[in-house]
Each structure stands twice: as C-alpha cells, then as structure tokens.
C-alpha cells in the first residue's frame, strides 16, 4: 500500500501521456481511439479519487521519482490544493471527451487523431502541474502544457489561427523564460524548491529579493492566469475549437496559472514573507482592476466566445484576489472558486459550442429567439450565468461567500465592493444572452446539439446546482478547503 501511495501521483500523470502515445496507433479506428481517451480519463479520475480518499484519511500520496538535475528531483505530492485542481481537471476531462467527440464528428473536424492525442498530453501536463511537489517539477510540466496547447490553438491551420498561435507563444514562452530564470535564482539562493506550507522560513531572504522573485514569478504565472495586462492572448486564442476553449482555456491552462499563484503565495514565498514585503496589497489592486476592467470589456464583445474569455479573465482574478488576501478564508475561497468557476464556465463554453454546431451562430447579436429552439442549452447557460454572478443556490455563491468573508478578515471591505460590483457586471454581460434567446416567437422546431454534447452540458449544470444547494456536497467542499489549510475540519 505504501508503494502504491508513493507511485499513485506518477501513475496519474503518466496515464494521459500513455494515452497520447497510443492514440496515433488507432488513427484508422475512431471508436477505438476515442475509447483510449476515455480509458485514460477514467484512470486519471479514479487515481485522483483514490488519492482524495487517502487524503481524507490523513495520508498524503506522493514521493520522489528520480533526480533530474543536481539536487532536484521529479517529485509529486497529492495535497489538498493539488488534488482539488487535479479532481477538477480529471472530472471535466471525461465530460469534455464526450463533448469533443460530438463536436468533432458533427463538424467533421480534420486531424482528429492529432487533436485527441495532443489533448491528452495537455491533461497529463495539467495533472503534473497539480501534483508537483517542487517548483522544478512544476515548471517542467508548465512548459510542457504551454507547448502542448499550441497545436490545439492553431488546429484550424488558417492564417488567423496561426497568428493567434504566435501571439499565444510569444506571451507564454516569455512567461516560461521568466519562470525558469526565477526558479534557477531561487534554487541558487535557497537550495530548496519544494513546496512547503507557509513558504519560506522567516528571515530566509531579504525583502528586496522576495519582491524581485515575486515580480518574476508573478509575470511568469500571470500570463496563463490572465492577469491584466498579460491577458491579451486569451481572447485571441478563442479561435481554437470550442472543446479546446472549454477545457483548456477555461479550466486547465488558465487554472494552471492561477494554481501557480496559489503555490507562490502559500507554498513558495509564504504569507509571512509576502506580508513583510508588503506585496499583498499591490497584487490585490491588480486583481481587483482585472476583475472590473475585463468585465467592462466583456460587455462590449459581440463574439460569444470572446465575451466568455473576458469573463474568464475576470473570474481568474477572483481566485488570485482570494489568495492575495493572505487569510485562511481567502485561501479556501480561492480554492473553491477554482473548482466552481471551472464547472460554471465550462458549461457556458459547452453551450456556446452547442449553439455553433446546431445553429451555426457565434455572435450574441445572432441569438434572438434561439432559446426556444435550444431550450436545454439556453437553460444550462442561464444556470452557468447565474452561478457566476453568485446567486445563492448555485455553487458560485459558496466560493463567493468565502471570498467576501475573506475581505472582512483581511480588513479590506472595499474589496467586497469590488466583488459585489463584479457580480452585477456578470449579470449584465451574461444574462442578455439568455434573455435574447428567449425573446420573440419561436422560429423553428427544437434542434439541439447531439446527445454526446448535450449530456455533459446537463450533467455539469446539474452539478453546479448540487454543489450549491445540497448540504453534503457543500460540506465536502468546505472540508477539502479546510484540509487545504492543513488543519482538521
């Protein structure tokens, strides 16, 4: 059992990579190919679930694998933070796999083998990021994720897609370079890159060094986390097929950036060092500005996916804000919002894709009356929209409540104002889509997207409701949050 616990995270990370290597061999038999994806997703999900089970019984899975550089090893550790991210990614991968199969077949998408193989690599990298035990392992998988996402962004092969790919790489590789430099510097200074709860020992590094490290790592993570002004790649990357936008650019890639922030604030530098260097306020300001600015920009977007992209930028900064406030409630809020936003946003993206597949519309202005023809899709969209706005009864409210509590605990009530204002803006830019959909007379028969796409939409929307209203689900979330603080529930 001990050996299994030491190897479980490695196995979890390896499963998607193994799938990526097998998928090309099944290129001529699509059903077999898709089965490989599902098997890997299932294996990942089971392993993550098992590690969660072990976590709740007080045992953390993980161990060092082998040395990759002098004094640095590839090491995994399945703590609450990592498992939350891994659980979100793995669960949603199963849903997205079903969705993308429907999407790809409905649109006769080209190069599907390449698509699914690279998708698996992305998930493997995300799992590696989630379960990494030290910054070196983290950075390695972070870079792999950057590269693995590229073929998906340029999948269409059009001029626009390639330009989007170049912009994405420009941002992401520069960020990766800064991360690498900061990691080497930190290694040279402290000789230890492992993630420790509470971060640096007090007095380990002087304020100036801490500030510089923070700046470098912030920019490094900030690109993926959509912190303004490093966010510009995300709306451009919406050119990718919708399953890519849904899982990667709403869940895996951007959450990896935000997860980096969580690790940075609580496990690398630590709240004490951050407080001492006076870093939490500037970060909170930047996060607050991002939340509001991107919401306002979202109002002006007509392209549905771009509107959702700016909404994502906004909500990512919710998470960063929660972490930046350095109080336990903020940490819990950040962690829960990572999961809740993922569920809600993926629902919205799935709906956008369904609308495109069924009705070939991708702009908000074209959606009039479409709701009558696609009631399930638009209903799910409504749930997602309300959830993001923080309406009680949906999961979004739970994480927002923790974040609001954190603003009080941190002594920054003005941040609560930001949260409230943002909630209103969320309604402003998301609800019109629903209202327009159900405005006017019905123009045709009910014509939803295929079942492979509709089922994941309904399931995840239902999950959002469950995690927002059903008591045991809420309790489980809260328990995991407390676990994350390494304290007993």
């Amino acid at each position: 059992m001990d050996a299994w616990r030491a190897w479980a995270p490695a196995a979890a990370v390896l499963a998607p990579f193994a799938a990526a290597m097998l998928i090309p061999f099944a290129s001529s038999r699509p059903n077999l190919r898709e089965a490989i994806t599902f098997t890997a997703a299932g294996a990942l999900w089971l392993l993550v679930g098992w590690m969660l089970w072990e976590l709740f019984r007080g045992r953390i899975a993980g161990g060092e694998l082998f040395a990759l550089a002098p004094g640095l090893s590839l090491a995994f550790r399945a703590d609450a933070f990592g498992l939350m991210f891994a659980a979100v990614s793995s669960t949603l991968w199963i849903a997205t796999s079903s969705y993308s199969i429907g999407y790809a077949r409905a649109l006769s998408m080209h190069a599907q083998t390449r698509f699914f193989a690279v998708f698996a690599v992305c998930l493997g990298a995300a799992a590696g990021i989630a379960l990494a035990a030290n910054l070196f392992t983290f950075v390695i998988f972070y870079e792999i994720l950057t590269l693995a996402t590229y073929p998906l962004v340029v999948h269409q092969g059009t001029r626009k897609a390639k330009v989007a790919g170049r912009i994405y790489l420009c941002y992401a590789l520069t960020a990766g370079a800064l991360l690498l430099g900061a990691t080497a510097w930190l290694w040279q200074l402290t000789g230890d890159l492992s993630f420790r709860p509470g971060g640096l020992a007090p007095g380990a590094l002087d304020v100036r060094t801490v500030t510089w490290l923070f700046v470098l790592l912030s920019i490094g993570f900030g690109v993926k986390a959509g912190v303004m002004p490093l966010h510009a790649w995300l709306p451009v990357a919406m050119i990718a097929p919708t399953p890519v936008s849904a899982l990667l650019h709403a869940v895996a890639v951007v959450k990896a950036g935000v997860f980096g922030y969580l690790r940075l604030i609580h496990f690398i530098l630590g709240p004490d060092a951050m407080r001492e260097a006076g870093l939490w306020e500037p970060l909170a300001w930047v996060a607050a500005a991002t939340i509001l600015c991107s919401s306002i920009i979202a109002l002006r977007q007509d392209e549905l996916k771009r509107r959702l992209a700016y909404s994502t930028v906004s909500h990512l900064s919710y998470i960063i804000l929660g972490a930046a406030m350095l109080v336990p409630a903020g940490q819990i809020g950040a962690l829960l919002h990572l999961a809740n936003h993922a569920m809600l946003k993926i629902t919205l993206f799935f709906c956008a894709g369904a609308i495109y597949v069924a009705a070939h519309k991708d702009r908000v202005s074209q959606l009039d009356g479409l709701g009558w023809r696609m009631p399930v899709t638009f209903g799910a969209f409504a749930i997602g929209a309300l959830g993001l706005a923080g309406v009680p009864g949906l999961c979004g409210f739970i994480s927002k409540w923790w974040l609001a509590r954190a603003t009080i605990e941190a002594g920054a009530p003005w941040l609560m104002g930001v949260l409230l204002l943002s909630g209103i803006l969320n309604i402003a830019y998301l609800l019109p889509i629903v209202t327009r959909g159900f405005s006017g007379p019905r123009r045709g028969p009910v014509l939803e997207a295929p079942m492979t796409m509709l089922v994941p939409i309904v399931v995840i929307a239902a999950a959002s409701v469950v995690f927002g209203s059903v008591a045991p689900a809420i309790a489980a979330q809260t328990a995991l949050g407390y676990r994350a603080l390494e304290a007993a529930p």
Partner: protein, 494 residues
C-alpha cells in the same frame, strides 16, 4: 589491462582509417559493397567507443602509445572521461546519420559510392583520432585529415557548393595554420608536444606573454574550425550548399570536434588559466554572447532551410562556448550536454532537410507547408528536435540550459544567466516559424503526387534514434552529469 581494453583507442579511430584505404580496393570489384562495409566499420568504431566509455568509467583512463614509444617521446593517445564521452557521441551519431542518409547518398553519389564512403571513413577517423589524441601535433594532423575530407565532400555538390567548399578550404586552412603556430610557440617554450607533459612544464610559466600568445593562437585557430563568431563566415554557405547527404553528416558533428579540442587545450594543457577570470575566457565569453544573439536573429531571416539551420548552429555553438568560458563543473557539464543536444537535434533537422529535398527538390523553408498530412512519426521527431533547440522539457535542451543558467548564477554573472534564458526565446522565434508550417488548413490544395512525402524507413529510424535520445538523455541527465563530473573534468578544476 585486458587485451581488448588496451586496444580500444585503435579500434575506435584507426580501424576506420585503415578501412578507408581498404575500401577503394574492395570497391573496384564490388562498388555496392561500399555502404555495408562502411556501416560495419563505423559499427565497430561506435561499439568500441561505448565499451571504452564503460571501461573508463570503471577503471580510469586508457593510454595508448604508438609504436610502443612511451610519451613524451612517442605519440600518445588517451581515452579518458572527456574523450570517451565525446567519441561515443561522435561515433554513434556518425553511424546513425550514415544509415539515415542512405537514400540521399544514393541519389547524390549513386555513381561514386566508393568515393563517398571512403571520404566518410576518413572524416570519421579524423574526428575520432583528434578526440583520442594526447599529442598537440597529432591533433593538427587529424584536424586536417577530417577537414580535407570535409572540403572534398562539400565540394562534390552543385556549383555553389564547390565555391563554398573552396572558401571553407581557405578559411579553415588558415585556422589550422594558426593552430600550428600556437603549437610551435608552445614547443619553443616547453620542448614537448605531449599534452600532459606540456601542461606540467607550462605551470610555472603562467605569467609568460609568449605562452599567452601561443594559447591565443591555438584558440583562434580552433575557433575558426568551430565557427565561433566572428570567425564563422564559412559555415552558412558550406552547410547550405553541400550535397544533402554531406551536410547531414557534417553539420551536426564537425564543429563539435573543434570545440572538444578547445576544451581539451584550455582545460588540460593551459590549465593554469582554467578560471572564469582569465583573459582567454573573457574573450571567449564575448564571442559567445555575440553568437547567442546573432545566430538566432540571422536564422530568422533565412528562406533557405539549411542556411537557417546553419545560423542556428552558430547560436548553439555560442551557448556551448559560454559554458566552457565559465570554467566550472556546472559550466562544462552544461557545455557538454548542450554539445550532445545540438548533435542530436541538428541531425534530425538536417535529415528533415534531406527528406524534403529527396522528394521535392527544393530547399526553401516554405516547402514544409506543402507536405501531405497526416502527421506521421517523422514529424513528431522533427517537433521534438525543434523543442530541444528551444529548450522545452523534457528534452535535453532544457536541462543543458538549466546547467548553463546555474553556472552563470554561480559565477554571479546575472546578465549572462538572463541571456541563456533569453536565448530560448530567440530560438523559439525561428523554430516556431518551421513548426507552424506543419499545420495545414483542411481545405488547402492537396499535394501533387510527386510531392507526397514517403519517408524512407532508414530516415525514420535515424531521426527516431536521435529524437528518443533527446528525451531519454534529458530525463537521464543526472547520471550523465554525475559521470561527467566524475571523469571528464580538468585536473585541478575547482
């Protein structure tokens, strides 16, 4: 020492040399036997090198004195950690690349297989002989052996290739002559040509300007051969216009031999200056910085695929020289790992150029976009090699850069650490232009029948070996680095 071990240096470098003399005789009767014969001989060489590395790792250096004359009177060869490591890299790569370019060699040298393979054997024995030699003048001889073979091979191509070869000949021979001048000065100061003996006699002469001049001459001569900026002018044309089969062999390997000689002389002969503050190291650092910046920038401007790769090589050589200039364990480890990285990655990329030219008879970068989908395994190798050039984990390129960054930080040279990090971005700039071309629109016109790329199995095999090698060596870089640290460091290194 057991019999085979003591003869390993001979098996590695002299067998190809002797084979080069035998091959024309065999070739008179059976020209088609040239290829299998060469493969067999290089196989002997490569396996001897591997055995040699294992033997050195366990038992220590193996010395071989020609004719039984003990050094310092006789010519001595030495198989120690550094030469074993480099000889394995060179001999294995040479063998695999030769197998990979077989189809191109058939197309370009089909009428003269004996000539091609004989020159190739001379090239190989020249390179390996230099690596094993522990005698300064002997190094010169083998330097010229492989250089002259290279001039001939490059010049056997089309018009521009001949002119490029001629320029390379002029430039390269000046370099060798400078090297010889340096050897002469060292001989005047120490009275010996044997490397170890010279090192011992030079130690008390550390302040001598003449010795410094000699070392600078040696370094300059080798810098020309290694194409270190600003002495790199011969390289782009030579790589771009040589026959494809030739550039695939020469481009990954040739400059690395000169870099090895540079390490050997700076670390083992002029060892009293093995320190990051020495004048020679400062000059090398300056040249390295210029190369790291200019190489990728120039590469980006190229439309010819192999010229792009040539400038890319110049940049990578800059990184290797930077690692050498730190004169530390981290720096030299980074340099050696990056050397292997460049060999493997460039081998794949030049083999790709071979494949493109094989079917499409063009060498423009844009040709990549006219290739038929779907992506086969060959293109996966291409992408892996490209990623290794940029330095993306888990390829070897990432880890070699990690060592170089650490070496720079250790020497408190922050701008250089930032430069190594930035070099990844500069490389990405031109690499992704290539990778981008592989993504075609679904409605783009299908390739004409003669543009459909059937990659020969040998090519897939060869690129596969290198690509898998890049990932395997990357993941296994720790044991390799420890081995290098244990057996391949200069004596008296910090």
């Amino acid at each position: 020492m057991r019999f085979p071990d003591a003869q390993l240096p001979v098996l590695i470098a002299i067998v190809p040399l002797l084979a080069a003399f035998v091959l024309p005789l065999i070739g008179r009767a059976r020209p088609r036997a040239a290829y299998p014969f060469t493969v067999a001989v290089l196989g002997v060489s490569a396996s001897s090198a591997l055995v040699g590395l294992a033997a050195v790792a366990v038992d220590g250096p193996i010395h071989y004195a020609f004719g039984g004359w003990a050094p310092p009177l006789g010519i001595a060869w030495r198989l120690d950690g550094l030469s074993a490591f480099v000889s394995v890299a060179l001999s294995v790569s040479l063998l695999v690349i030769l197998i990979g370019v077989h189809e191109n060699a058939e197309a370009e040298f089909g009428q003269h297989p004996v000539a091609f393979h004989t020159l190739l054997l001379l090239l190989g024995s020249g390179m390996l002989g230099l690596v094993l030699s522990a005698d300064l003048f002997n190094v010169f001889v083998f330097l010229e052996v492989f250089s002259i073979s290279a001039y001939a091979l490059i010049g056997s191509g089309a018009k521009r290739g001949t002119v490029a070869a001629y320029r390379y000949l002029l430039f390269g021979t000046v370099g060798a002559t400078l090297y010889l001048f340096g050897v002469g000065l060292l001989y005047a100061m120490t009275g010996t040509l044997n490397m170890d003996d010279a090192a011992a006699r030079l130690a008390p002469l550390a302040g001598s300007r003449v010795v410094l001049g000699a070392v600078i001459l040696l370094v300059t001569g080798l810098a020309i051969k290694a194409a270190i900026v600003p002495l790199h002018g011969w390289l782009p044309d030579a790589y771009a216009y040589a026959p494809n089969a030739v550039s695939a062999v020469i481009a990954p390997l040739m400059t690395k031999v000169a870099l090895y000689a540079l390490i050997r002389i700076l670390g083992w002969v002029a060892g009293m200056w093995w320190s990051a503050d020495a004048v020679v190291m400062a000059i090398l650092r300056l040249a390295a910085v210029a190369a790291i910046v200019l190489g990728p920038l120039a590469a980006r401007l190229q439309t010819d695929f192999r010229r792009l790769l040539a400038y890319s090589s110049i940049g990578q050589i800059g990184l290797i020289v930077l690692g050498i200039s730190f004169a530390s364990e981290l720096g030299l480890t980074g340099a050696l790992l990056h050397l292997v990285n460049d060999i493997c990655a460039k081998a794949v990329l030049f083999l790709t150029a071979c494949v493109i030219t094989l079917r499409m008879r063009v060498s423009q970068v844009s040709a990549l976009s006219r290739l038929k989908e779907p992506m086969g395994w060959f293109w996966v190798m291409f992408v892996i090699a490209s990623l290794s050039m940029v330095g993306i984990p888990p390829t070897l390129g990432f880890f070699s850069k990690w060592y170089l960054i650490l070496a720079a930080l250790e020497a408190s040279r922050w701008p250089l650490a930032a430069l190594v990090v930035a070099s990844a971005l500069l490389s990405a700039w031109y690499v992704f232009v290539l990778v981008e071309l592989l993504f075609r629109r679904p409605d783009a016109p299908a390739a004409k029948p003669d543009e459909v790329l059937h990659v020969p199995w040998r090519m897939t095999f060869a690129t596969g070996v290198f690509a898998i090698g890049l990932i395997a060596l990357g993941l296994a870089n720790q044991p390799i680095a420890r081995l290098i640290g244990r057996i391949a460091m200069p004596p008296g290194a910090p």
